[in-house]
Each structure stands twice: as C-alpha cells, then as structure tokens.
Subunit: 240 residues, 2 copies
C-alpha cells in the first residue's frame, strides 16, 4: 500500500518560507558570532568537546568511558557523500585518503572508516529489502537528499487489505497507481525542491553532543546546511 503525505501548494509555500527563515537566522547568527570572536580572538572555549560533561557528578570518577568513535557532523557528512558516490569499494588506498581528510575534522582512524563503510552498506541493504514490496514506482523515490534513509520503513501493514477497495468514491482507488497518480517524471522534469541547493546534511542523531564547530565553523564552506526535499506531484483525476 502506498502511503504518502499530501500538501497543497499553499502549505508547501508556507513551509518553504518558514524554513527559509531558519536558514537566514542561522546564517546571521554565524556571521555575528564570527565578528564577535574576531574581535576578541581568544574564544578558546570553542572546542568544547563533547563528552567532557563535567556534570557527570558522582565525584570521584572522571569520564573514562568514551571508547567508541563517534563521527562528528562534518565527518559524517563527508562519509555520506562519499558513500553516495557509489564507489562502493573503499579500497585500502581510498580508506587512507578518506581517513586523512576526515582527521582534519576530528579524531579518526582507518579502522573507523572501514567499519563505517562496512556497516553503512550492510544496513543500507537490509533496510532496502525490508521495504521493497511497497515500492510501486520506486524510481519516483526522489533522493530527498538522503542516501538511504534511516531504518524507518513503512511499518508492515498487516496484510489483509486484500479485500476489494469498497469506498471507491471517497478513496483513491488505484487499480494501477500510474493511471490515477501522475507523478512528475523525476528524470525529465525536475521535481520541485524546497531549496535548490545541494544540501547533504544528514542529522542522523542528536547533534547536541558534538562540538558545534565541527559542524559549522570548522567546515570549510562554513555554511548552514541546506535543505533539499523534493515532492511528488500528484494529480487527482475525477474519480470514477
């Protein structure tokens, strides 16, 4: 069963504007901050580091944990990008290069990179097979910026929705999805995107724990993540 969200143009427009405000705010904030730090230089605080967490309480023991490597936002971004480029074979050499590059954005080892790719691929695959059946016109799946979305897959709907669609008048009965639903051809005509930018930030998980600078100021391009969501065009034909 296909299951989607629908927006009117008006809603889309609103969303677009609202998000634009966010982008603006972020840019401004960053700009302001830069000026500020430029003035007094220091600002040593910056690399606040994540896991320090002085609030750890319990007195006595310090934060000794943290053995597991955790990619910083930038690193993750880069990794994802590389991953998307399809070069599914991170050769030994490649690994070294990547590691080298990523090390500029934080602690990292070749093993980390290796494992990352290993896991990324495996999970990406498993996720795919799990949501395969539902993919009617899978190609329509615009890349929504994402490589392979997270684990979230359209919950298995208990199969039994086999009964003939009865509420035809109110429903979208679609004997053949393609006949009732006309998606914009993803290839020929570009679909609409909220923002035309390339955007490729995958906020995989809370960023709160990572050094903010890793994600912003350390980033060469020093920019706020761009948003790029594409939508399908759904044309509703007068029901039968």
């Amino acid at each position: 069963m296909l299951y989607v969200k629908v927006m009117t143009d008006e809603q889309l427009e609103t969303l677009r504007k609202q998000i634009a405000v966010y982008a603006t705010i972020c840019e401004q904030l960053v700009e302001m901050h830069k000026n500020l730090t430029a003035q007094q230089d220091l600002a040593g605080v910056r690399l606040g580091n994540i896991y320090c967490d002085p609030l750890m309480t319990s007195a006595g023991h310090k934060i000794t944990s943290r053995q597991r490597w955790t990619p910083t936002p930038v690193q993750l971004q880069i990794l994802e990008r590389i991953f998307d480029q399809g070069t599914g074979t991170p050769s030994k050499q490649k690994i070294k290069e990547i590691t080298s590059e990523l090390s500029q954005h934080g602690q990292i080892s070749e093993t980390n990179v290796y494992n990352w790719f290993q896991n990324r691929r495996a999970r990406s695959k498993r996720k795919q097979q799990n949501s395969a059946p539902n993919a009617a016109e899978s190609e329509v799946e615009t890349e929504v910026d994402s490589p392979k979305d997270k684990k979230t897959k359209p919950e298995e709907f208990h199969s039994q929705q086999n009964s003939d669609p009865r509420a035809e008048d109110l429903c979208f009965q679609n004997p053949e999805i393609s006949s009732d639903l006309h998606f914009l051809d993803p290839q020929s005509s570009k679909e609409e995107t909220i923002f035309p930018t390339d955007g490729s930030l995958k906020p995989t998980r809370g960023l709160g724990q990572m050094s903010f600078y890793d994600g912003l100021l350390s980033n060469p391009s020093m920019n706020v993540p761009e948003l790029s969501i594409s939508f399908y065009h759904l044309t509703i034909l007068p029901g039968s």
Copy 2:
C-alpha cells in the same frame, strides 16, 4: 483536476530532521555566544535576563505521538515465552514467523522483533553478570551502571513513522484548513503537523539566557516561525 504535493513518510522524516538541524544550530550558537561573552563581562548582568520565552507560544497541538513501538501485553508475553525457550538464535526466518504471529495482536514489524530479542539477550546477560560477580573485588567500580550523562541536549525528533493504526479504509483525512481538497471523509480528520508546535523546536532552550541574540531572535522578520504545517493523509488502496 486537483493538484497537490505529495510526500512519503521518508521524505517527511527527512524534512523533519533537517529542520531539526537548524534548530540545533541556532541553539548551539546561542549557547556558544553565552560562553564567549561570559569571558568578558562575565557573570553579572546576564542573569538579569528574564525568561522572555517568547517562543514558548506553543500552539499546543497534541502532536500525534506515535514513535516508539511498544509491545502489547500479549505480544510481550509471547515474546518472553519464546525467549525462555532458549532458542537464542532467532533466525531470520523465525523472526518472520514470530512477527507474523504477533501482528495479530497489534502493530509490529520484524525489526521490532529483532530489536527486542537483541535487547532482551543483552540486558539479560548484563543483569546476570552485574549481580553475580559481586563476590569479586568490585573495587573502584562504584558506579557500574550507565553514567547517564545529563548533558543538555537539544531535542531531537525521532518520530519514525508508522502512523495511524487504522487508516486503510479511509483515504483522505483532511484537516480543516483547506477546503481545496474537500471531497473526502470529513469525519475522521487526523491532521498531522510536521513539528509539535510547542516550541521545543525553537532555539529557545532554557530560560533567559540569550541576551545578545535576543534582538535578533526577536526581530519580527527574523522570528522563528511556528513550524506547523499540516498534511493530508492519503492512503492509496492497492488496486485489485
């Protein structure tokens, strides 16, 4: 002919996350600024702030909280039983079977089952070794448990999807706002908003703490908007 935009759950989720990043960035910037300024005109004034909390506006929509799967009593019971049977290896195939069975007692997916066993085993083991080996010198290890750091993290939106338990029969659940798409089932309107409008998304964060950015954030044109876009729920019944 009606004409609307369509989003899949994946896309919606991506959008949600991406926007969350903006919120996080704003929050972090504010936090950083706080640290910076704290160096120069430390302490003092800043506390004068009042918690204007202008963003807490909270339109108060009861965001449909459907994220984490929660096993029903029956399901749990079954799971436990299977677990006790010792078959520590819920093979792929077995998972399917179990899932299939449990689905008769409520929404559930293979992933859920998989995770459940994974966690069950792990925790079962940890508990065991946590109480048994006490005889040994536990020495310094006063707090074996999880550090449970209290780092103040920005809200993160998890939401996976899955959604209404029973949407198969109706097709278009439409929120009130648009009369555009009015041809469907007005009775069961289940509107969804991208974000809870309770302000948790805003860079606001704690109470009065931003002094420098107050102006910015308060600027009418810059004010972070309430991100609340409603979507229609469009369910496409499988053609026969």
